[in-house]
Structures are given as C-alpha cells and as structure tokens.
Amino acid sequence: MFNNWKISPHQFEILVVMCFIGTSILFSPVDLATTVKQDAWLGAIAGNILGLFLVCLYNAVGNYFSNMTLIEYAESVLGKWLGKTLSLLYFSFLFINCSMILWIAGDFITTQITPEAPIQFTNTLFVLIVIMGTRLGLETFARAAEVLYPFVIGLLIILMIFVLPDIESKNIQPVFEYGIKPMIKGGLFYSSLSSLTLIPLMMIFPAHVNNLKEAKKSFLRGTLLGGFVIFLIVTLCILVLGQDMTARNAFPSYALAKKINIGNIIQRIEAIIAIIWFITTFYKMLLHFYGATLGLAQILNLKDYRPLTLPLGMILVVLSLVVFPNVTYAGIWNTTTWLPYVLTYGFFLPLLLLIVSLFRKSKKRI
C-alpha cells in the first residue's frame, strides 16, 4: 500500500531544503570557522559546489531505478545476499545517524532552553512526534512540510534583516589568507553535515516522486537553496561575531540571534533560530527514521512498516543516550570518524550502485 505514495516535485524540493538545513544551520558555522577562520564563507561556497556534484551523482543513480527505493534497487542489482547485506548496513547508518541527530537535539534543548528537564524526556517527546510523522506516512508529512516551509523561510528572512545593523566588515578581512587547502577541507566537513546527509532521501526520490524529470531539477534546486541559506548564515556569523567567537561558541547561529537589539525594543529573539532549527531538524530526523523503518521492512519483505515504528523508537531513545557520552566526545567524533563514515554511505554506496548499473547495462547491450 505504501508503494503507491506519490509526492509532487515541489514537496520533494521542500524536503530537500529541510534535510539540508537540518543540523548544519547550528554546526557548519563552527566547523567552517575552525578550519577556514575568516574565509568560512568561501568554505561554504566550496562545500555547496561539492554538494551540487553529489546531487548530480544521486540523480544519475536515480535514473536507473525510477520505481524502486535504494534498498530494493540494491537487492535487484547486486543479488540477494550482497544486496541485503549492503541494505542492512545502510539501515544501520540511517538509524545510528538518526540517534545522533536526536542526541544533538536533546543536547541543544537541555543546555540552551530547558536546563532542568531530564534528557530522557526531551528525547522521548521528540521521538514520539517523529513516530507520529512516520506512521502518518510520506504524503502527509510532505504536505505538512509545505505548510511549515513559509514559516522557516519567513523567520530566516526576519533574522537576517535584524542582524544587518551589527555587521562589521573588518571581521572578514583579510580575505583568502589561508589558501585553498583548508577551504576544501572546510567545504568537505560542511558537506558532511549537509549534502552528504541527503542520502535518506534516496528512499523517496525516484520511486515516490510523481515526475522524475522535474524531481531531478527539484533535487538540485533544493540543494542550491539550502546551500544559499547556510552560506548566508555562515557569512553573517563571521561578519557579526567574528571568526574567533564563531569557532568557540557551541551554537554560533543561536548566539547570532542573541545579538539582535533594535532600539532596545526588539531583543532576545533567539527563539526564532530555535524554531527554524526545530522544524528543520524534525524533518531531518523524520526522513532518517522513515528511511530506516521502511528500509528494514523492505529488507525483511514485510507488507507494512508501521508495526516497526514503536519498538524502533524505543531503541532509538536508548541509543541516543549512549551514542555520545558527552559533548567533548561528540566534538572529537564529529571531526574524525564522522567524515569517512558518512562518505561510505553518502558517496561510495551510490557510486558503487552507479558503476554496477553502468556495467550491467553495457553487458545487456552486447
């Protein structure tokens, strides 16, 4: 029954933007400012270019399986056992990444907004709403995204206009001081948070979007738009806070919103960035969780994925509590192991599928 779900290319584009902005709106300013200092905005451009290439790769893979999800395709092209093994690994990636996003969300809420609430409860509440979205299904949450999208963009525009008076142009000078190597490194770290994590969308992308040709354009457009938003946020962080403060702050874009003070009337409106972040992170988690449950159901040849949502949600809460013991551990993990881990599934897995399909296609012709 969930095979017939279709969303429009426009809805798909919104999901891409949400998934792209997700965690990167809080973390890419830190990563970029640490590696590229005041040239962080150049690093963001480099990362966005990498992201566009990556989406071209996804589009090329998507060409080959217009009516299957990534997991069904892996099985049909690599054979039963190899396909199932890879699919299980892909499932584990989505699930572990989902628990990491949940840990990040819980950490943000308990350190910045409600310090007294135990993290178990914030995480459980967050998971409950994700389970609800997953059970209601793709079409429903895609339409909900359409409703929430104007709020995200509107609040972003408000935020950007209000921080304009605080800009100090000396913060980005001298431009291009550190050369090209840290820029590429920064770009790679940035895309590991944003465009490489678009891989759960491959559970939706060719099969459940009603117009493949338009969907491919939407994929690119969504990535471009999301990249533009993050680029603006990173640039404003550097311009307003300076590279040093951006690199030291745990959540610089949140600190950026705290700086807003217009005539002593409009101030302390950092909740704006929290709202944007909740909506986009919710969608990022939802897409990961939806991909993981649907993927597991397809690996085990189940007819319905809904019965898996509640027990998997329970496991997810426990996993989110153990996956990172503390902030320092998370920081080190995210700058070392995370990059090769996400590259494996976000880049090498689609690349492998593309190469195998090219090979099989040429074999068929002979």
């Binding site: 572990i96 990491m100 190597k181 840290p182 590429i184 490194k185 790679l188 597991l296 085990l300 040849n301 189940l302 007819k303 319905d304 019965p307 898996l308 509640l310 027990p311 998997l312 329970m314 496991i315 809460v317 426990v318 996993l319 509590l321 153990v322 996956v323 990172f324 013991p325 551990y329 993990w333 070392t336 192991t337 990059l339 090769p340 881990y341 590259l343």
Partner: protein, 77 residues
C-alpha cells in the same frame, strides 16, 4: 524498580496498540519482527535505566574506520 515498571507498562501498551490489528490482518512475519524488536528495546531500556554499560556504536565505528580516518585527515594536514 519504578523505571522498570514504567518501561514494562509502555511495552504492554505498545503490544495492545499494535498486535490486534496485526492478528486481524494475519501478518505473522510482522508480528515476529515486532516482538523481537520490542524485546530488544525493553532489554536495552532496562539496562539504561539501571545505568549498566551499553556498548557504544560510535566507539565501534571509530575502531573500524581508523585507517580510513587517518588517511583522510592526513590528506588535509
């Protein structure tokens, strides 16, 4: 004691919510997967509530990806 009771209550609630419709539709495979995952979840939750050491997947991944990580970080040194 209380956390364990709470977890068991939640698990029973999930079963009552999910199982009748599965039995009605005669989906045996789904039922099996549901119970296996649920038992796994209950064991993990109880272990967490008792502050036992649960193996951490990110430690495991760090060990597996060590050569690849070193390779990538060496490129950008």
């Amino acid at each position: 004691m209380w956390p364990i009771l709470g977890i068991l209550t939640v698990a029973i609630g999930m079963t009552l919510y999910e199982v009748p419709s599965l039995v009605e539709r005669n989906l045996k495979r789904e039922l099996w997967v549901f119970f296996i995952l649920l038992i796994f979840g209950v064991i993990l939750s109880i272990a967490e509530s008792l502050n036992l050491d649960i193996p951490n997947p990110s430690d495991f991944l760090t060990v597996i990806y060590k050569p690849f990580t070193d390779f990538i970080l060496n490129i950008f040194k």
